[in-house]
C-alpha cells in the first residue's frame, strides 16, 4: 500500500520549510497544501484542533503537529536513507538540545526584529546576533551541524536564512559582517537540492513581510 502524505503549510513559514526539507531528503512524494492563515481550512482545524497552526504532516490520514516532532517522525519512519538524527544516543541528545535552542531563542528574537521598533527592536537585534555567535561556536569546524552531512539541527535552522534579508533590512545590520561563518554554512546548505527547493526566495519573503507590516501599521 502506498503511503499517503499531505503537508499543510504556508509558504513563508520557516517551520513548514523544515518539514519540506526533511521530506525531500527522504525522497518522499507528498501533496503540498498552502493554507490561507486568515481563513484556515476545515482540514487544518480538524487535524490540529489544539493549536490550529501549520505545519501539519498528515501520514495516511493521521496528523503529526509541531515541526520538530514532524521532522523526527519522518526520520524514524523513513529510516532507510538520509538519516537526520545521529545514531549515537549522546549525539542525538546534543542535536535535540540545539534544535530546541533555535526554537527557544532565534525564532523569538527574529520575530521581534520585524514586529517591533526602537529600544525593543535594538535589544532583539543584539540577542539575535548573540545567538548566531553561539550557533557558530557549536558549528565549529564542521561543514554542517550534522557533521559531513545535513542533520537535524541544519534542517531546523536553515529555514530562518530565507528571512535574513528581512531581519537585516529592518534591523539594519549585515549578517555577513557579523557572522561570516554562519553565512558560509548557510550557503553550503543551499547547495543541497532538498534545501534549495524547500526555501522560498529571500526577496519574495521580504516583499511578503513588508506587506504584512503595512497591513499591521508597523511602517
Amino acid at each position: 500500500m502506498a503511503d499517503e502524505v499531505v503537508l499543510l503549510d504556508f509558504w513563508p513559514s520557516p517551520f513548514g520549510m523544515r518539514v519540506r526539507i526533511a521530506l525531500a531528503e527522504k525522497g518522499i512524494k507528498y501533496e503540498y497544501k498552502d493554507e490561507d492563515l486568515r481563513n484556515k481550512s476545515p482540514l487544518l482545524l480538524q487535524m490540529n484542533p489544539v493549536h490550529k497552526k501549520i505545519p501539519v504532516l498528515i501520514h495516511n490520514g493521521k496528523p503529526i503537529c509541531e515541526s520538530l516532532i514532524a521532522v523526527q517522525y519522518i526520520d524514524e519512519i523513513w529510516n532507510d536513507k538520509a538519516p537526520l538524527l545521529p545514531s549515537d544516543a549522546y549525539q542525538r541528545a546534543h542535536a535535540r538540545f540545539w534544535a530546541d535552542y533555535v526554537d527557544k531563542k532565534l525564532y523569538d528574537y527574529g520575530r521581534k526584529i520585524w514586529t517591533t521598533k526602537g529600544e525593543e527592536q535594538e535589544a532583539a537585534k543584539k540577542e539575535f546576533l548573540d545567538c548566531l555567535k553561539v550557533l557558530e561556536g557549536e558549528l565549529g569546524d564542521k561543514l554542517y551541524f550534522g557533521g559531513d552531512n545535513l542533520g537535524f539541527v541544519d534542517v531546523v535552522l536553515i529555514p530562518f536564512y530565507s528571512w535574513f534579508s528581512v531581519y537585516e533590512a529592518l534591523g539594519n545590520f549585515s549578517t555577513e559582517a557579523e557572522s561570516p561563518k554562519f553565512i558560509a554554512w548557510a550557503k553550503r546548505c543551499l547547495e543541497i537540492e532538498s534545501v534549495a527547493k524547500s526555501l522560498p526566495d529571500q526577496h519574495k519573503v521580504h516583499d511578503f513581510v513588508m506587506l504584512m507590516r503595512k497591513k499591521f501599521g508597523l511602517d
Binding site: 489544539v50 509541531e66 517522525y73 544516543a89 549522546y90 535535540r96 538540545f97
Partner: protein, 261 residues
C-alpha cells in the same frame, strides 16, 4: 594505580577487587566510582529535575545527587550547562545532557532494556512528544502565573485558562490511555512523567488558592490518574510536600516582586 576517569571505572573496579578484596576502603571506593558514572545536578523542589529522577528510577539506575543551591549557581552547573545555566543536568561519565525531556529520552535510549519510557511506535511517540510540549508550553507557565499573580482578577483569569488546559489533558488522557491506568499504558511512561512531575507544585497552589485544579468533578479520569501516579514505585518520595514548597517559594515570590518594583 593509574588515575581513573569515569570511563575507566570498570578497569579500576577490576584492579580494586583483585588488590583489595577484603579492604573496606577499597569496597567504598568501588561503590563511589560506580555511582559517580551518573551525576544529577538538581534540587528536590524542581519538577523538571523530578522528571529525570523518575526516569532513572524506572531503569533502576544509581546516581549521585548533586544538590544545586542556584543562588549562587555552582561551578559544576555553569560548566555543564553554560547555555542556560539551569537544572536539571545529567552528567553521564563526563558528558552533560541538558533539558529535562531530552534527558528522559536519552536515559530511555541508552538503557534500552525494559521497562520502556517512550512508546515503541513512532506515531505514538509523536503524540507523546506533542502533549509533553503542550504541557511545557501551556500547563506549566499558566500554573506558575496563578502562583505569581498579585491581583485576584488576573489570578482568576489564569485559573480559567488552566481549566481549559486541564479539559484538553483529560481528553488526551482518555484517548491515549485507551482505558489503561497511565498515558504510557499499564506502566508510567514519558507523558506521565512530563505531566505528573508538577503534582507537588499543583497541590501547593491548590492549597494556597483553596481550589482543586485537577479534581473529581471536572476531570475524573485525570484525578484518578494523579493518585495512581503518586503511588507508583518510581515516583515514591519524589513529590515535594506543599508546606516545604510554600516555605521555599513564598519568600522568593516576595523577593522577585520587590526586585520588579
Amino acid at each position: 594505580m593509574e588515575s581513573a576517569t569515569n570511563g575507566d571505572a570498570i578497569g579500576i573496579l577490576e584492579q580494586l577487587s583483585y588488590q583489595n578484596l577484603l579492604c573496606p576502603i577499597g569496597r567504598l571506593y568501588m561503590i563511589l566510582m560506580a555511582k559517580s558514572d551518573l551525576k544529577l545536578v538538581g534540587r528536590w523542589s524542581s519538577p523538571f529535575v523530578m522528571r529525570v529522577k523518575i526516569a532513572l528510577n524506572i531503569k533502576s539506575l544509581d546516581y549521585e545527587n548533586f544538590h544545586e543551591t542556584l543562588n549562587p549557581k555552582s561551578d559544576l552547573l555553569l560548566q555543564s550547562n553554560p547555555v542556560y545555566k539551569k537544572i536539571p543536568v545529567l552528567i553521564h561519565g563526563d558528558k552533560p545532557i541538558c533539558e529535562s525531556l531530552i534527558i528522559v529520552e536519552y536515559i530511555d535510549e541508552v538503557w534500552s532494556s525494559a521497562p520502556s519510557i517512550l512508546p515503541s511506535d513512532p506515531y505514538d511517540r509523536s503524540i507523546a512528544r506533542f502533549w509533553a510540549a503542550y504541557i511545557d508550553d501551556k500547563w506549566f507557565p499558566t500554573l506558575k502565573s496563578i502562583f505569581l499573580a498579585d491581583e485576584e482578577e488576573s489570578k482568576k483569569q489564569y485559573i480559567k485558562q488552566l481549566e481549559e488546559v486541564v479539559v484538553r489533558m483529560e481528553d488526551a488522557f482518555l484517548n491515549i490511555s485507551k482505558g489503561k491506568d497511565f498515558f504510557g499504558g499499564n506502566r508510567i511512561g514519558y507523558l506521565d512523567i512530563a505531566f505528573g512531575c508538577f503534582l507537588g507544585w499543583m497541590r501547593m497552589i491548590e492549597k494556597l488558592i483553596g481550589l482543586k485544579l485537577i479534581g473529581e468533578a471536572k476531570c475524573p479520569a485525570l484525578a484518578k490518574w494523579a493518585e495512581r501516579f503518586a503511588a507508583d514505585a518510581a515516583v515514591e518520595g519524589l513529590i515535594p510536600e506543599s508546606d516545604k514548597l510554600i516555605e521555599l517559594y513564598n519568600p522568593l515570590k516576595l523577593k522577585s516582586k520587590a526586585l520588579a518594583k
